[in-house]
């Protein structure tokens, strides 16, 4: 039995836990404000809020319900646009959308309203940039967004006047209806025991699996692991960071200590899908999806990460991530095995990390090429180099030879240009919808140069490379 609170109503259902939350909400509960645009998390028309108990409060996050299994709602508070409505008047987010002409055909509008309400409920600092990030996964085809930007600004102006982030304040100021106050207690009171998990496909956030095989998952047994504690958690010890594979991209984004080691982390992660997806997508999922352009995979490869794998007898084994991938979408994971954690050495004051990604659309798009680098420098010499690149081979590629070449070399323009020659030999891009082979080669070179102009702007400029290249 899946039990959760949907808006102001407690739901207990025996529906299949692998069906999408969208279908349940829209067709079983007839809450038609949640729209279907794409069923692959790319438009945000089906955005819902999911509230997870966090001590005495509830932590709300936006998700795209089209690629989220119903079972993941178990024990949570799920909020649709109807669940944000006040009696006979508009909420602050709704009024901002209306006053600024931010709705035309109206089909994407509930998604925007829910995302903005989620922003109001979130812990994130109430500034314009964060408000826009909150709607980064919502596509509108009518307005051209300028009016939506104004609505977001109006909302932020109001939110900035709050002294502390409290439900009371949000209720009093008409961001959410009063029943939200009752949710923490009601969630505690409902009997949300562990779901009976049959054998079946492992699903964490589901963001990739539901894009590929939603029908299959709705029709077959699934094994939901998003709530498994042993796959959770981020620990930092002796300069080593270990992350449970259930950690979402947002968990990284929000982790203060990791951000201190990666000062540009948010800038980099902002290139990874949208806020809704980052709230769901797990690191483990990204790794086993084995996409040659998996953003987090490329990120973790350049950190020379190791992964811990758990088998059905609960025995663990550890291998280097760079040795995990064997061929296109094939990897070293046996039947019943599960990725448990990924760990890597954190950057030090003498090491430098960068992530690059270029796609047609900068945000919420799949890379044409993505690339990451982690360099250690001692006395102007590269003492250690780990370079990864995606979209240019059948697997997310760790550049063994380029990395080896750079190790021990002086950090000079000549070194970098020579290294690019080796990089070009290591990659084997193919022409597809994300670009021609020639383009990907050129882009691979440019992103390789970009690592250095970004990390050492005083030492290298684009001009230096071009004059020599």
């Amino acid at each position: 039995m899946i039990t959760f609170i949907l808006n102001n109503k407690t739901i207990s259902t025996t529906e299949h836990s692998g069906m999408t939350l969208l279908d349940f909400v829209r067709y079983q509960q007839r809450l038609t404000g949640t729209k279907i645009g794409c069923r692959e998390g790319d438009c945000g028309a089906c955005t819902l809020l999911v509230g997870t108990p966090n001590g005495d409060t509830i932590k709300y996050q936006s998700i795209t319900s089209c690629i989220s299994p119903l079972g993941n709602a178990h024990g949570k508070h799920v909020v649709t646009v109807e669940g944000t409505n006040l009696q006979d008047k508009l909420t602050t987010a709704q009024e901002a959308m209306k006053a600024n002409y931010a709705t035309q055909c109206g089909f994407c509008t509930p998604g925007f309203v829910v995302s903005l309400t989620g922003f109001a409920l979130s812990d994130s600092e109430k500034n314009y940039k964060n408000a826009i990030d909150a709607i980064s996964g919502n596509i509108c085809r009518c307005t051209g967004y300028k009016s939506i930007e104004k609505a977001a600004q109006q909302l932020v102006d109001k939110l900035k006047t709050q002294e502390n982030n409290s439900l009371d304040w949000l209720i009093k100021n008409e961001f959410i209806p009063a029943y939200f106050e009752t949710i923490p207690k009601r969630l505690k009171d409902i009997e949300a025991n562990d779901l009976n998990q049959p054998k079946g496909k492992y699903i964490s956030g589901g963001t990739d699996l539901y894009v590929q095989q939603a029908d299959h998952l709705a029709d077959n047994e699934v094994h939901l692991i998003a709530e498994k504690d042993y796959l959770k958690g981020i620990t930092i010890k002796n300069g080593i960071c270990t992350i449970g594979t259930n950690a979402t991209v947002s968990d990284l984004w929000n982790h203060t200590e990791i951000n201190s080691y990666f000062p540009n982390l948010k800038k980099h992660l902002k290139l990874v899908s949208s806020e809704q997806i980052r709230n769901m997508a797990s690191l483990g999922g990204n790794l086993v999806n084995a996409s040659p352009i998996g953003d987090m995979t490329i990120f973790l490869l350049s950190l020379n990460s190791t992964i811990t794998i758990l088998n059905t007898e609960e025995k663990e084994r550890t291998i280097a991530l760079k040795n995990f991938y064997q061929g296109y979408k094939t990897f070293d994971l046996k039947e019943g095995e599960l990725l448990k954690a990924v760990s890597f050495k954190l950057p030090t004051k003498d090491s430098f990390f960068n992530f690059e990604k270029v796609c047609k659309r900068t945000h919420l798009d799949i890379a044409s090429v993505n690339a990451a680098i982690h360099l250690s420098i001692e006395n102007k010499t590269i003492s250690e180099a780990h370079i990864s690149i995606g979209g240019v081979a059948a697997i997310p590629k760790y550049l063994h030879e380029t990395s080896a070449f750079l190790t021990g070399k002086p950090l000079t323009t000549e070194t970098i240009i020579e290294a690019n020659d080796i990089l070009q030999k290591e990659i084997t891009p193919i022409s597809d919808v994300r670009g021609t082979n020639d383009y990907k080669r050129l882009l691979a070179r440019q992103l390789f140069f970009a690592h250095f102009t970004t990390l050492f702007p005083k030492q290298f400029t684009l001009k230096d490379f071009l004059q020599h290249a």
């Binding site: 404000g33 794409c38 002409y101 035309q104 919502n138 900068t362 044409s368 440019q446 970009a450």
Partner: protein, 775 residues
């Protein structure tokens, strides 16, 4: 970018825009939209026992159907029935302009995604599962995916069309400069967020009611009747609203409604057919890709003396609206310029892509892209800024268009010079030049884009509409028109008209769904004309009712009709408030048995076009404007951002500033999308590769220009427009063309060897390739 020096003129204008926005009427649907309470076709309550349908489509772009085996699919639990062309009681034909498009394929398939059968089941999920069980065997036939191939093979939809003015051949002989070249503009997916869909339910006596997400209810009604072989009056089509249309639901909402109706006809049960996104992308047509050649001739002082172009329109596998779209390409082939000697020709090329269709701009943008390319090429070769050539050739009052219409109330130069002046173009250009001098890794580019867009259906007989206005006993009003609300705010405008005529609050007015039983034989909501045509009809109906009410009032108050006015729900006599309220007036009219319902018909006057001569006066008026686009490209990565788009636009006298600005901004961004990141890709077998939202990218909130300023130009407006408020749906889309040329200029600033190409969209791939192209 450092900030422009204070520009008081601009600040004053922007302040005026901002004040107008605060006062302006809000979209009447906003309240239910933001609450998730607006009803779209998939939200309508369905009857018990409703079946759900999924379309089985061709897995090849061209071939002979050797065999299809439905047995496994039919045997699946929950499958009710599978329909094919054999189940069509009337004609298996849905072509609107030319009868060349079957509803279901018979012996051959002509595009990948062509409907072959309709699977009807207890749920969509079951129907989809059944679809996977159908086995089909197709013998391949040669596949044509490009217009050029089609031309080479002589594969056309219809005869070519050609417009001409002056003597082009002779004029070229007198030119100081002549340049020739090729251009390509790709298709564009509409990506209405609400996919295509319809819901059909049986009524008594074999009548069928269809709720459809269509811009053209009459097209749906007519086609359903034709396919079912029944009279049109047996079919009722109702439209609440659309979750976006953009032309994609003008003709191509029809097949799904017809299929649902066909299943309802046979099963006597309700049937719902909502396409999922992948099916929609694969099965429906898009904006037409064009491959074109041009030849442009100029004098030493940069006057365009002669222009010749051949447009190859990739029409897809059937006519759909292609001939009309091709025609509009010719109408807009010279954009905002006066060219005394013009020869234009368009060939609608039949290929094995899904039939391409209407999309905001309707062929106009494709035509404009070619002349802008020709001008950019000329400027590049001559070594002058593009805008010098543009400016030297802008349309003037009484200039003749290539189709014979004399340009009147022209605002081309007005918007151009206003833009230059108010946006301080000298400072802007200096800023770009300075930036480029001081930066290697980033470059800026700037471009001008003037637009001139004709308003009216170019097929003159389509320029009509009707409005049915009821005043109810209690003084509330219901209005039905042919207008379909799809976000453009047309319902709000209809309501404004009635509220203004009767001087009653908008809460007293309801805009009804668009329904073929209330307003019949309508033209689709398209061509930017919906508010004009339906607004004029509404205005006429309201005025007739007002006249009748004035008679009632004058009798009641013992005065003349002339002395009566209505103000704020009260009757005024010679400007003096009387005791007679709106509600009382209505009651009196009822007691006197005065008709409180009016049906008005409007047909645009003055317009005509003779296709045998290709001359006439097809447009009620033109809309003008000028956009200045500034971009910054990252020369390391080939990515780019748009700093600003600054526009002076001719709204006429806007009746709804907020709604009209929304149209301008939305169209602009859609145009920029078409020119930059939206890239349709088919492989040589005719399979759509950009077949999902993960591979087809439309603008998101981060990809739009940082600043968009739209300043209205001061004009007299035009009486042919509703309340002098000009049509606004399509014209601003073409401002987006400026994005292409701004990017091109930025690339030129980085790479002096860049060989200018006119191949849209300008994706990051093309930018990077251009930046590093070696001669």
């Amino acid at each position: 970018m450092h900030k422009n020096k204070t520009n008081i003129k601009l600040d004053t204008k922007l302040e005026a825009v901002s004040i107008a926005l605060k006062k302006s009427i809000k979209n009447l649907d906003s309240y239910t939209h933001v609450r998730g309470e607006s009803l779209y076709v998939d939200d309508v309550n369905i009857r018990q026992g409703t079946f759900h349908a999924v379309v089985f489509d061709a897995p090849k772009a061209h071939g002979k159907i050797k065999s299809i085996d439905y047995t496994k699919a039919e045997a699946l639990q929950g499958v009710e029935r599978i329909f094919t062309y054999k189940d069509v009681p009337g004609k298996n034909e849905i072509g609107g302009i030319i009868a060349d498009e079957p509803l279901f394929a018979e012996d051959e398939v002509h595009f990948w995604g062509m409907p072959i059968a309709l699977i009807v089941a207890e749920s969509e999920f079951i129907a989809r599962k059944a679809r996977d069980l159908i086995e089909i065997n197709i013998e391949d036939l040669p596949v044509i995916t490009t217009a050029k191939e089609a031309k080479a093979k002589g594969s056309f939809i219809n005869a070519p069309r050609s417009f001409s003015l002056g003597n082009t051949e002779k004029a070229f002989a007198d030119c100081d400069y002549i340049f020739e070249g090729e251009t390509f503009s790709n298709g564009q997916e509409h990506l209405y967020i609400e996919a295509q869909g319809a819901y059909a339910e049986p009524l008594e006596n074999g009548n069928i009611k269809i709720t459809s997400s269509t811009q053209g209810p009459t097209a749906v009604q007519k086609t359903v009747a034709q396919v079912l072989g029944v009279a049109m009056h047996k079919i009722e089509v109702d439209v609440t609203r659309l979750g976006g249309g953009f032309g994609g639901k003008e003709d191509q909402a029809t097949p799904w409604a017809v299929m649902a109706a066909l299943a309802t006809y046979h099963l006597n049960q309700s049937v719902k057919l909502i396409l999922n996104r992948h099916d929609d992308l694969r099965m429906t047509g898009k904006r037409h890709p064009y491959e074109s050649t041009y030849k442009i001739g100029l004098s030493k002082d940069l006057k365009i003396l002669a222009y010749q172009t051949e447009f190859l329109q990739n029409s897809g596998a059937a006519a759909d609206l292609s001939p009309a779209i091709a025609e509009r390409t010719l109408f807009h082939a010279t954009n905002s310029y006066y060219v005394p000697n013009v020869t234009t020709k368009v060939l609608s090329c039949k290929t094995n892509l899904p039939p391409n269709t209407a999309f905001r701009g309707f062929g106009g943008p494709q035509g404009m892209f070619v002349i802008e390319s020709a001008i950019a090429k000329a400027a590049h070769e001559i070594g002058v800024p593009t805008r010098k050539i543009q400016e030297a050739n802008l349309l003037d009052e009484n200039d003749t268009f290539s189709y014979g219409q004399i340009a009147k109330k022209v605002e081309a130069k007005n918007t151009w010079h206003t833009a230059k002046n108010i946006f301080n173009i000298d400072a802007l250009e200096q800023e770009v030049a300075d930036f480029n001098k001081n930066n290697t890794a980033f470059k800026k580019g700037i471009s001008f884009m003037p637009i001139t867009f004709g308003i009216s259906f170019t097929n003159t007989p389509m320029n009509h509409a009707r409005a049915l206005v009821h005043i109810y006993l209690d003084g509330s009003i219901g209005i039905s028109t042919a207008a379909v609300e799809m976000g453009q705010g047309v319902n709000t405008k209809m309501m404004q008209i009635a509220a203004a005529i009767f001087s009653i609050p908008i809460e007293k007015i309801k805009i009804e769904s668009t329904n073929t039983t209330r307003v019949a034989n309508t033209s689709p909501s398209a061509a930017s004309s919906t508010a004009d045509l339906n607004g004029k009809a509404t205005l006429m109906a309201c005025k007739s009712l007002l006249e009748r009410l004035k008679t009632v009032a004058s009798e009641a108050l013992h005065t003349s009709e002339k002395s009566i006015t209505l103000k704020e729900e009260t009757v005024y006599v010679n400007g003096e408030k009387s005791n007679l309220t709106w509600t009382q007036l209505i009651s009196k009219a009822m007691l006197q048995r005065v008709a409180l319902t009016e049906n008005a018909h409007y047909a645009t006057p003055e317009i005509h076009f003779d296709k045998t001569k290709e001359k006439g006066h097809p447009f009620a008026y033109h809309v003008y404007g000028t956009a200045i686009t500034t971009t910054t490209i990252d020369c390391t990565r080939g990515t780019y951002e748009f700093d600003s788009v600054k526009i002076v636009h001719d709204y006429g006298k806007s009746m709804s500033e907020g709604i009209d600005l929304g149209q301008a901004e939305g169209a602009l961004i859609q145009g920029i999308g078409w020119m930059t990141l939206e890239e349709i890709a088919y492989n040589k077998d005719g399979r759509l590769l950009s077949n999902a939202l993960s591979t087809y990218k439309v603008p998101d909130i981060f990809s739009v220009p940082k600043t968009v300023e739209v300043i209205p130009v001061e004009t007299e407006g035009n009486d042919m427009a509703i309340l002098k408020s000009k049509a606004v749906g399509e014209p601003p889309l073409m401002y987006g063309i400026g994005a292409y040329f701004a990017l091109q200029n930025a690339i030129k600033a980085f790479n002096p060897n860049y060989d200018v190409k006119f191949h849209a969209p300008m994706t990051p791939e093309k930018v990077l390739t251009g930046l590093y192209q070696k001669q």
